[in-house]
Amino acid sequence: MNIEILLYIAAFLAAILGLVLAFITLSYRSLIQKYFALRKENEEMVASAKQKSDEIIKDAQDKAQKIIHESEMISVDTKKILDEKLQSATVQQITEFTGFLEKAQSDMNNVLGNLSKDITTESIREIENFKKSLESQTLKAEDMLKNVIADSNKKLDSEMAIIKEKRINELDSQIFEIIRKVSKEVIAKSINTKDHEDLILEALNEAKTQGLIS
């Protein structure tokens, strides 16, 4: 039962597939025919355009040859006139240019002359200003230097006084150290053992007299 149904279905599908293939084949054939018709039409249009362009080029060549011929005919006269005009214009241009140069040089000389005067005047003014400034600064520097020297002198005097006092004290110590040393040496040499013993006993007696020993 099932197999039969399947066979029917398969036969039906095969019929449909056959119809579809026939339709595709017909459509393809129609398309090929259109392609060939268009191709032919295109080739005809290209050939026609080429023919037209060849004609246009030929006309242009003819016209050009004609124009060249005519221009050669008038160039001799024209050149003569043109040379004369050119020479005249050149002379005029040179004259004008020479005049312009002379005027420019004159103007330049005037400008330079004025400029030189201005520079001189400005330079003198600047130099005067600089001179004044220099004088002012010199005076200030002098004052400053005087103050510095005065301060230095004061400081130097003060330091000298301290050094002097220190040296005097050192000298004082040295002198009296020498005196003390010499005196000690003299005393040590001049006092004999008996004198020393007497001095010690004298010291003991003095201590008793003073009330240290009781």
Partner: protein, 164 residues
């Protein structure tokens, strides 16, 4: 303790060095006595102690004085003796020690010991210190006093000489 023995000991003690030597001798003798070593006792007496003290100790038995008690007692008394410190410029000789001893006996009594200290810079004389008091009778001090008096005049003459 018998006073004459005590005084005899003080008479022989002049300086703190004598005291130190005697105290060392007594300590050694007491040690030998604790050990009942009579041979060592005699050796110490003959070699470590002064002759005068050895004689005193040897005669203790004759006097009927017990040695141990005597030595302990004398050691204690010697340690309590007053001391006068005498600073002098060099080591004292025996003559000076005797002279000072005589002076101390005459002025302070026998129970004061001289402690000599040396200071070369004092030149001569003495600096004396006794029972917390101190006085300087050295030649150095006298010299400094003289120089201090001379100083202004000397400086004046130096300045005058320098400027003339």
């Amino acid at each position: 303790m018998q006073p004459e023995l005590e005084n005899q000991i003080y008479d022989n003690l002049v300086t703190n060095e004598d005291v130190a030597k005697l105290l060392k001798c007594i300590d050694l003798l007491l040690n030998t006595m604790y050990q009942n070593d009579t041979v060592e006792f005699d050796r110490v007496l003959n070699t470590e102690c002064d002759v005068w003290f050895s004689e005193i100790v040897r005669n203790l038995d004759v006097r009927g004085v017990e040695k141990g008690a005597f030595l302990k007692n004398i050691s204690k008394k010697i340690k309590g003796l007053d001391e006068i410190i005498i600073t002098i410029h060099k080591e004292p000789n025996e003559r000076l020690k005797e002279a000072v001893k005589s002076w101390i006996d005459a002025n302070l009594g026998t129970k004061v010991i001289a402690n000599f200290e040396n200071k070369k810079s004092i030149l001569g004389g003495a600096i004396i210190s006794y029972k917390g008091k101190y006085v300087d009778y050295s030649l150095e001090k006298r010299l400094n006093s003289v120089i201090a008096v001379m100083k202004p005049q000397l400086m004046k003459s130096l300045v005058t000489t320098g400027t003339s």
